[in-house]
């Protein structure tokens, strides 16, 4: 299995962090309230470890579903990735409702709330992609986000048949609410090879 060194991962986290700062600023401007996105931690995990990790996270939440916001990006022929932002459904729903200024509890997420969640995911994913695009010095062309609420395994099942997933864990805080989510970059083998070569080259850390 391919791996990154600790230093490489730290460097990646720092790159993401810059972009996430911009995403947080965008949110704050939209809802006129301070929203912070925490410094991400970046790891490379195999699918089973990730599924386990996500299930553990779910257990601490009251609901056992995750909300997934998915976009596909590609950079020419040598790199493509599915990006998947995962939040606990309940936590993300509370944040969205707080952003919208209406905390009326409704059992199911509404269509407009789902749309809002897609926009929030879109902003976070785009900011991460901008970091990668900067690193690669190339364009990352994407598709519109789609939203789905499901168990962690079911959400992962639809995408990953590869061993390795790049995971950036980020926390999102608004007022007293905070929730933490994962941005997953699910790449095919050629893509991850390209990705690693780029990282080795750029950070020049062996």
């Amino acid at each position: 299995m391919m791996t990154f060194t600790e230093l490489q991962l730290d460097a990646l986290a720092e790159t993401f962090n810059l972009s996430l700062g911009e995403a947080a600023a965008t949110f704050s401007a939209i809802v006129h309230e301070e929203i912070t996105l925490s410094v991400p931690t970046v790891e490379v995990l195999n699918r089973e470890d990730l599924a386990q990790r996500l299930e553990n996270m779910q257990r601490s939440e009251t609901r056992d579903r995750l909300c997934g916001i998915n976009q596909h990006f590609h950079a020419g022929n040598n790199f493509q990735t599915e990006t998947l932002l995962l939040f606990p459904e309940q936590g993300s729903l509370e944040i969205v409702r707080r952003m919208l200024g209406d905390t009326t509890p409704i059992e199911q997420i509404t269509e407009l709330e789902q749309d809002a969640l897609a926009e929030i995911g879109n902003i976070i994913i785009n900011s991460c992609m901008s970091s990668l695009a900067n690193l690669f010095g190339t364009e990352m062309i994407g598709t519109l986000p789609t939203v789905e609420a499901n168990t962690a395994r079911a959400l992962l099942e639809q995408h990953s048949h590869d061993e390795v997933i790049l995971v950036a864990r980020i926390g999102m805080t608004m007022a007293a609410q905070n929730t933490s989510g994962f941005v997953l970059f699910i790449m095919d083998v050629p893509s991850i090879q390209t990705f690693m070569k780029q990282v080795e080259r750029l950070f020049n850390i062996a």
Binding site: L100, T104, T110, L112, A116, N122, I141, G142, L144
Partner: protein, 465 residues
């Protein structure tokens, strides 16, 4: 291309394509209608110019990102309700609520274009608002319901505890009359072990002698839908008893059908006994426990009318003690009371149960003989009375003797009603007294030579005093 334009015009959403310079390349019919701008006017114009000053600034940012970096973007209605100045047809005051998707489009020439899709979500927003409103109302109602339920539970607990501790016996039965609930006090009054007896008919506790009467009263109350109220004695295992009053009413369901009965058991033993004591006191002389004058007159009237009906005879004896005043003066009222009590009990002893004896007041007594037959019987009665009165009476320090004068009146011979009978007997008694006095005086004169003449009151020293 023509087909594509055709499709675009038929879409129920706004469709804009911008070229790399942000000039409008596609402007479908939906936009012509909602932006009130014909395609001919929009085509080729920069978007910023067309909507000058009326756009959410973020839309330009995300369009730029799509064109420059190839990033798609979503602008949700929730976070940007009305980014573009689009209106419902014929209403230029209210902007359409929008959800906008912005997607980069790669072109063969390498110059990227940008597709903007605008959905009208006014109706969805309205429905969701309604949903929220309903959710809020439901939540409020639920809170009220929960509060009411909590209060009901508290109240239920309160009443259960009250019922348990109540000093009255409380019970419920089913429609047949079988116990379904008994509080502690009811178990105690009914002589049931706690928790036992449920399912049994409540009339089982009533003594057999009373059962038929109570059952018929219960059935009548049940059938006529009136309240049931009965009093009966319940015997305990030690032979003592309690007077119980049972009150019960029907419990009906929402359709008016009788579900059962709810009622109370009250121990009225003390009340009953007090009432009996009061009644006795009202009708009897407290010193001698004989009938008083009022009671006697009542009984006399009843006896007269009874005798009149069946043609019976009555004899009324009016008795006045001789020398009672002297006894009172010499030995005090306590001695007088002792003498009255003593004479009363002797009268009761010598008379039969069916005869009525009364103290009419002071030292006057009356006896009513209810089945008078002849003079011989009367003479025997009078003799018995005289003897009984004349026996020595122990008044403590000494024994005394008293005599009595008796007046008789007979029904129907002397009088026709109670008052006349009494008055006649009274007069006869006085006549008797006078005759007795005169004969005594004659005796005294004849025996003047003897100084130890017997007086009316004859003291005999008690040996132990």
């Amino acid at each position: 291309m023509k087909i594509a334009a055709n499709i675009a015009d038929r879409l129920d959403m706004g469709l804009i394509v911008l070229d790399n310079d942000m000039r409008i390349r596609v402007w479908n019919r939906w936009l012509e209608q909602h932006a009130d701008t014909p395609s001919s006017q929009a085509m080729g114009k920069p978007l910023r110019e067309l909507f000058a000053g009326h756009m959410d600034p973020r839309i330009m940012v995300v369009i730029r990102e799509a064109l420059d970096f190839g990033w798609p973007a979503k602008m949700s209605h929730a976070l940007h309700p009305t980014p573009l100045p689009l209106f419902t047809r014929g209403n230029s005051n209210e902007r359409i609520k929008q959800a906008i998707d912005i997607t980069p489009m790669e072109q063969p020439d390498g110059k990227r274009m940008c597709l903007i899709q605008i959905r009208n979500v006014s109706e969805i927003a309205r429905r969701e608002q309604l949903l929220r409103q309903q959710a809020r109302m439901l939540r409020t109602e639920l809170e009220h319901l929960n509060a009411a339920q909590a209060e009901l539970q508290r109240s239920e607990l309160r009443f259960r505890e009250l019922a348990r501790q109540a000093p009255a016996g409380l019970f419920e039965t089913d429609s047949v009359g079988r116990w379904t609930y008994l509080n502690d006090r009811c178990c105690q009054l009914a002589g049931l072990t706690h928790g036992k007896g449920l399912g049994d008919h409540w009339l089982n506790i009533v003594p057999e002698a009373d059962r038929e009467r109570i059952l018929s009263s219960w059935l009548q109350a049940r059938d006529s839908a009136t309240r049931f109220a009965e009093e009966f004695k319940l015997y305990k295992s030690d032979g003592s008893y309690s007077w119980i009053r049972c009150d019960a009413g029907q419990l009906r369901d929402e359709n008016g059908r009788v579900q059962g009965f709810i009622g109370t058991f009250t121990d009225i033993t003390e009340f009953r006994e007090r009432a009996m004591r009061n009644e006795f006191r009202a009708n009897h002389d407290s010193l001698t426990l004989l009938c008083n004058r009022e009671r006697f007159e009542l009984k006399l009237r009843a006896a007269v009318s009874g005798a009149r009906e069946i043609g019976n005879k009555l004899a009324l004896l009016y008795i006045d003690l001789d020398g009672f005043k002297g006894l009172n003066d010499e030995y005090g009222h306590a001695a007088g009371d002792t003498a009255l009590r003593s004479i009363s009990s002797r009268l009761r002893r010598v008379m039969r149960n069916e005869d009525i004896i009364a103290r009419l007041g002071g030292d006057e007594f009356a006896v009513l003989v209810t089945d008078y037959t002849d003079e011989r019987m009367l003479a025997s009665v009078m003799a018995k009375i005289s003897q009984a009165v004349a026996l020595p009476i122990n008044i403590g320090p000494c024994h005394v003797r008293l005599g009595c004068s008796i007046g008789v009146s007979l029904y129907p011979d002397h009088a026709q009603d109670a008052a006349q009978l009494l008055s006649h007997a009274d007069q006869a008694m006085y006549t008797n007294k006078r005759q007795r006095k005169e004969s005594q005086q004659k005796n005294q004169q004849a025996a003047q030579a003897k100084p130890e003449q017997l007086s009316n009151v004859l003291p005999i020293r008690n040996t132990n005093s």
